[in-house]
Subunit: 384 residues, 4 copies
């Protein structure tokens, strides 16, 4: 009898012995000719005003299946609070160095970056693929009371180092209280060749249709950054299937060089809060790769087929013009990894379809090729 | 040593011994003077063409914390497949009887209903609070080839029984392929006093702005129904925090009489796919009850306060006109049960607020008082 | 401005347009020479005393990634309640026929089965791979007051049809109140060649160490069945990562013939409530296939390596004898799909390991080769 | 038509605007006369070798509903890496000060603590309710090569400050490779009055039956600590309902004084990995408070009643001696917040119960009053 009791006893096991978390991966297929890399281009650590050690940023990247992260600590601030008081001495590249070492072990690419923060205009800018944040800080600090001159000097030094530079969160309410503005200074910085990318989605400010429009019109890369300061879990509701926003980078190879080439070639898109923003070409190919149609069966009264969503992104579909002769759901959700059977009927439900071929056209309402303009996807059916 | 091993052994326990599931409750506060009841007004079982026994519908209601469900089996179909072949004999009220007995034990109110399904116009209609589906079916069946006459006869018999009748899914693609239409017959049925409610959200067809508009313009109750045929879990992604759509019924008491009085008085709203649809008065009060503001702290440079979302509904907020003099996030999500601290700044981030009092106005983008018209909520602040 | 508001509006989409649920797959690798099929060998539907239509059982199987299910409705009961009153007429193979048609469309193998339920002894038995439940019921019903004779007759008829027969839940408290007993009748049925398998885990009764022991000692297949009557979601907490219990079938091919051959060859194991029960050979191979070790790095003071759990089953590990010269966690959990880095030290934390080679031995506490006896797994390390 | 499209557009909202995460609360009722406080008594930050800023520890506490946390940074280590090189200057109480300020704003009690880490014996010890870690470090550092003398000196200084001192993780594999040992030095420290508590569960090492036994035999408080160094989310699988281990403190009031009084009076228990460890009196009362029985219905053939689990802890129950005359499930799980109906039968399923009164006795297999000894709970039934 004693034996029976002991059999039923359950031991409490050590929960922390492992070094990493259960994965919550962001899943997307590659597209023709390119790998679909997932990156976070805007990240802080305890070395500026963030609240986690740089190694944590790599562990978080592993958890969500990211390929690349940029460490973009402010070239000012927190440990700097101690620094300012002379309590801490360390250069501005330490967080990158620590993250890069951890990234190497965990197979996460780490971009050396930094954020230059000034009043508006010009606001905040990220410099990616740099060598030395101390030199950038030094260049900018010469003009402490002049935001414009400070930023120009910082960006100039960043360019000297070969940086890819990004205008961050043009829509941040602290610098764009009631509307998102493009100032003359932005024309200047664009004309000078500094505006390689624009952050159209930022963790704190969300999506900006204005920034999206500007990026398209100026040929800038679409960039997303969490701008995360805290552990991501305190902001992202993973338990309910949410994910951090990411920049999608369509790269020829999964290396830092591959990332840089893709950024320079503007092959990026943004996935944020269940939305994808990008050019019709890129996100159209992405949608085609993740939305799998199979098992088409034709009969006189209906056509059935299977659909699988090969991604962690839910798809919000609705009927688009050009399919008026056939009947299918006017709106529907295809959830992550969902496999379902769809049916196409002829008009009035009872009539035979009576067509040799037809198109099923639908809006993918959460894939936006421009502000307010959803991707249209078509499936062509031809009776055998 | 043997003892130590046995200590670490974990036994596999029986998972099915219990009679009900872990709860996934839909949580909403009551409003002033009324209880906020959650109901599903459109439900099928195996007794028509559904795939679950009526008791399951009560267990599902318990799992999500519903107060009331309507059993609305078609007054035709599945076991009827057997019936038609003479293999099954049972009246059309059996599913209600079985559900009502289970509801009594589980404290879930069960409405005796039925669905009359015909071609468009008039389409499908639900009769709630009826006595006998056999009589309704018999009345309608007299006009088998005439949808209009059949429905009129069915609704007339339902009225004789004291029914509350609802036009179901005017936007169902099988009957409204490319647009949602109001036919002359609907004017007739409305004029005859049959259109007490309109289903503006249906599990299969989603939300219809047209139906929403018609319900407002004709003084009909806003109704939502899952129209569920399968076990709900096969359609609702509970593991990621989703819930079934529900009709919110603001009732004086939690009884069938209370539900009927609220329906007759048009005190309903719809909660579906994280959206709430209803009159400014009702959903405004609901929002005020669930959005709790506390701990306001005034200083010269900023005002901080706590916000708690006392519901299972995420809130999608964005800045609305009338608060241009102060700075706060231009858009944000307050997730279910989230507690957060918000900060209001003066303009340009560094200036003191410099106002004796001000309003924080925001759109609640997922609370719609009309199609395309979000609720506006204000918080008034006055420096002490 | 109006445009901006409408942009922020979010529409509620149809949640039920799809035909199947978001997957919650049970994931296990194949082993050398065999596919690891997942099956549920004990399932009821509305055609006996269950509460769902047979098609639902196939949809649930798809959701969890099952390969095979057995429809084992009682050869008596619910629609039978109607049947007994003469209200329903249909043979006892209808639920199988409906499920088999749905299984064909969804690529789920469906076994034609039935459950013969009598008092103890002999209790309840499942007959799998039969042709006609009516004949089995008829054979058993001749001896209505004699459980022993009724079961013998039923099993005899099942054998005539070529059945694989299983003693269900020997530990069901309604028939084994305070202890699990093997009666003389079970010796008789075993000797007569009827006891091909024993249900060592049942959804309602959990795991039985006695049944496990008897199955081992008598060379019977280890079988698990949910014995599910309701929709599975009402019993299984999928939102917290739980799964239904399954019989693991190591088959040469994914066909009904392959399943039968594996059952006949006793190549089965049981996965239930995060435990795996099976022979050392089979579950040892399964563990080796799912527990991936890579990236071993040797240094004087420590050895590090990566571990990945390639399954949806958490692993509860603790140090076993034979590794006293090296230091590693005395107990730990490796969660589903978790990837982690482990470190082995020499004794006393600071000493070099000082060994040419060594073994890391650990108990897999939730993989049981016998009652109370966990699997032992070894990783061999040899300094280069 | 354009309008309709824009209606369906969904905007991506800002996910980071909020200051705290969706709650994953640990829920337990109070017991008679005491509040059930949840505490984590062992926590590191970036100020020693942790990877998060002290404020994060308060945010994590809020997320799980903890009442009290102890900041117990090593009185050596990480920023100390910089410190040792003369790069960082700051006293050893800075992490407490930062956490305490955040705790005050968030209503989380923060204990000033520190960890003294030495070789075994004596191993690692926590000092709680201290004033100055610098003085403790200084006292210990005098004996850098002598673990015993260093610890004695550190604990002596901690006592001078009024500390409550705890022996941490006696079973840590790095200091207790193959068995958990009590050294003579522990007898000495116990005799000197330093061993107020023993950590019987530690995040990295799990549960120690030896430590549990020693704590009981020596009248020490049962203590649990995560020993967390990283953000908790990287170790705890919240998405699947897991929680961090906590010390349960049965306090007269929710203040630091109340916590200290409860520790001094040994009114603690441990909740870790779904297990509760504590005295029969305390965890018996806790179980009675969370396991609610209602709606008892007596009939001749069966007794039914409702059971609700008013906690976030699953309950693993199995039949215990003393209830042989009645039939109920021999083992079962009652999941967090689950509400279920149970049925008691007479023997042999068909007989009337035939008793005036009876007890339902069961083991609560995951509530352990001693190592290997589960709590027994009884429900008394008396026919009216």
């Amino acid at each position: 009898m004693k034996k029976k009791i002991s059999l039923l006893l359950i031991a409490a096991f050590a929960m922390f012995a492992a070094d990493a978390a259960v994965p919550h991966p962001i899943v997307l297929p590659d597209i023709d000719g390119y790998k679909t890399l997932k990156g976070d281009m805007h990240i802080h650590t305890v070395f500026s005003d963030g609240t986690v050690w740089p190694t944590t940023r790599v562990e978080e990247a592993v958890m969500e299946g990211l390929d690349v992260i940029a460490i973009t600590d402010h070239v000012d601030t927190r440990l700097q609070k101690y620094t300012n008081k002379g309590l801490f001495r360390c250069d501005r590249n330490e967080s990158y160095r620590i993250a890069a070492a951890a990234g190497k072990a965990a197979d996460v690419l780490v971009i050396h970056g930094g954020e230059i923060s000034r009043g508006m205009p010009p606001g905040h800018w990220n410099a990616l693929f740099i060598d030395d944040n101390d030199a950038i800080a030094a260049a900018a600090e010469k003009y402490d009371d002049n935001h414009v001159k400070a930023m120009r000097a910082g960006l100039k030094e960043a360019r000297r180092q070969g940086a890819f530079t990004v205008w961050n969160h043009p829509h941040w309410e602290r610098q764009a209280q009631n509307e998102t503005r493009w100032y003359d200074e932005h024309t200047h910085l664009y004309d000078e060749g500094y505006m390689h990318g624009i952050e159209i989605y930022n963790g704190f400010c969300g999506y900006s249709p204005e920034a999206h429009r500007w990026a398209i019109d100026h040929g800038c890369a679409l960039i997303s950054g969490t701008d995360t300061h805290k552990p991501l879990f305190l902001n992202i509701d993973y338990a309910n299937g949410m994910h951090r926003p990411v920049t999608l980078i369509f790269a020829k190879e999964r290396t830092l060089e591959g990332v840089r080439e893709a950024l320079d070639s503007r092959r990026t898109a943004v996935l944020a809060d269940e939305h994808v923003y990008g050019s019709e070409e890129l996100i159209g190919e992405l949608f085609s790769a993740l939305f799998e149609v199979s098992d088409i069966k034709y009969s006189e009264k209906k056509v059935t087929f299977k659909v699988v969503n090969r991604s962690s992104v839910p798809l919000f579909l609705s009927k688009a013009p050009g399919s008026e002769q056939v009947v299918f759901p006017r709106d529907m959700i295809v959830r992550p990894f969902e496999c379902m059977t769809m049916t196409i009927y002829g008009l009035d439900n009872k009539k035979p379809i009576g067509l040799d071929s037809f198109d099923v056209n639908f809006y993918v309402n959460n894939f936006l090729t421009e502000p307010d303009k959803p991707l249209v996807h078509s499936i062509h059916f031809a009776f055998p």
